[in-house]
Amino acid sequence: MRYDATLKVNGRAYPVAIEPGRNLLSVLRSEVGLTGAKEGCDDSECGACMVLLDGQPVNSCSYLALQADGREIVTIEGLAGEDGDLHPLQQAFLDQGGVQCGFCTPGMLISAKALLDRNPSPDEDEIRLALSGNLCRCTGYSGIVRAVQAVAEQR
């Protein structure tokens, strides 16, 4: 059986009808049509699917979509400004070499944003800890950590 729900994604309401077992990631990608959040492991290990739910990072591959009914969701598509200006974290990831293949990037940026929202000036150790649920197979992490540090220093 399908249940009606409203997903509020990046400030817009999307009515959906979904089965109880559906995960939030698949509904965001297939029904809502936002494919920025990625499926890496489908098992809560890699963080490629990270979105904000009521301001907190959540592994959307392993969260029931129905439990997000009516709550505020922010995906990577919601980070840039209305006019398309990149979020400072997005720009810093580009400037510091924090992106290679880009598959981990949406999740990394969401976790990094959640970190700076709760702690505007984290040290390197705090940044590494906050990104520990996000795996990157390309960059070796140092560009990513530098990018978050650069934005923290601007604040």
């Binding site: 592994n59 392993s62 029931l64 129905l66 439990q67 959640a114 590494r128 520990s132």
Partner: protein, 305 residues
């Protein structure tokens, strides 16, 4: 994933009503949904989501102790100054669950009711004499955490029973505590071995010691022989070593990809010793970082990744 029906309860009564007709509760889903996706167990046919039930949220102080609502998350526990001050071992435990995302979604109720023998908060809750309130459509009962777990993934709770809160009495003055886990990395880890120590000092003498072992037996449990080795002692290195050896002697570990039984038993002594020493340091008023684990294992900066 097999779930056929879903309801989101807004009160405990609504949740109990759904559970009386066979629905299983889901809080953060970090065990239930992840288990289903990993192929461990399919989702239950009928689910009742409890994340909207405000009665189950939060941490509050009450006469003689602290009450954790079943929906208190690991992040809530680490952010609670009362939990960090009075129940430091519990904060040590919650602070190392998964990643930040796991800690903001994962609840204490789910951690306890999932009943993994390797889960983090069980040892501290048992040593602090926590009591769980279990409610069903037909009544309410209180069960000490030490009596709750019956085997891996099993508790004394009946299918229709909801854990609503955990009450923990304030420890006596002069108490310090620590939970330490053997981990191959700092986050996103499962305890290979875990040890809890809650030590109450009276001057230089150990008045009361509570020692529990984690991931070393089918259930997390206290070790009486280890506690006896410390009780009445002067908290000397010799007493700490004797207690740690007793904890290792009481362990019945398994061998798996993460470590052999022999290695786990050897590490049981090491982890128990570190947990007791840190609990003693804290009981004497000394500061030690929360979580204790990475700092204890000698990593740089209190533990770089």
């Amino acid at each position: 994933m097999s779930a056929q029906s879903y309801t989101a309860a807004t009160s405990v009564d609504e949740a109990l009503e759904a559970m009386a007709t066979g629905a299983r509760p889901i809080a953060g889903g970090t065990d239930l949904v992840v288990g289903a996706r990993g192929g461990k167990a399919p989702l239950p046919d009928a689910l009742v989501a409890i994340h909207r039930v405000s009665e189950l949220r939060g941490i509050r102080e009450q006469e003689g102790g602290l009450v954790l609502g079943a929906l208190a998350t690991h992040a809530d526990i680490v952010a609670s100054s009362s939990a960090c001050e009075l129940f430091t071992a519990l904060a040590d435990a919650s602070a190392i669950v998964g990643s930040h995302a796991t800690r903001t979604a994962g609840t204490i109720g789910g951690n306890v009711m999932n009943a993994s023998p390797a889960m983090e908060t069980g040892g501290p809750l048992i040593c602090f004499d926590a009591v769980a309130t279990l409610r069903s459509a037909s009544g309410t009962r209180r069960v000490a955490l030490t009596d709750l777990f019956t085997g891996p993934g099993r508790t004394v709770a009946e299918p229709g029973e909801l854990l609503t809160e955990l009450a923990i009495p304030t420890p006596k003055d002069g108490t310090g505590s620590c939970y330490a886990r053997l981990e191959y990395r700092r986050q996103m880890e499962i305890a290979i071995v875990g040890a809890t120590a809650v030590v109450t000092l009276d001057g230089g003498t150990v008045r009361d010691a509570r020692i529990a072992i984690t991931a070393l037996a089918p259930t997390i449990h206290r070790v009486a022989e280890a506690e006896q080795a410390l009780n009445g002692s002067d908290a000397s290195d010799a007493a700490v070593h004797a207690a740690a050896d007793a904890a290792a002697g009481a362990s019945r570990p398994i061998s798996d990809v993460r470590g052999s039984a022999q290695y786990r038993r050897a590490m049981a002594a090491v982890l128990t010793r570190r947990a007791i020493s840190t609990a003693i340091t804290r009981a004497r008023g000394g500061r030690f970082p929360i979580p204790a684990s990475p700092a204890l294992h000698g990593a740089v900066n209190g533990g770089a990744a």
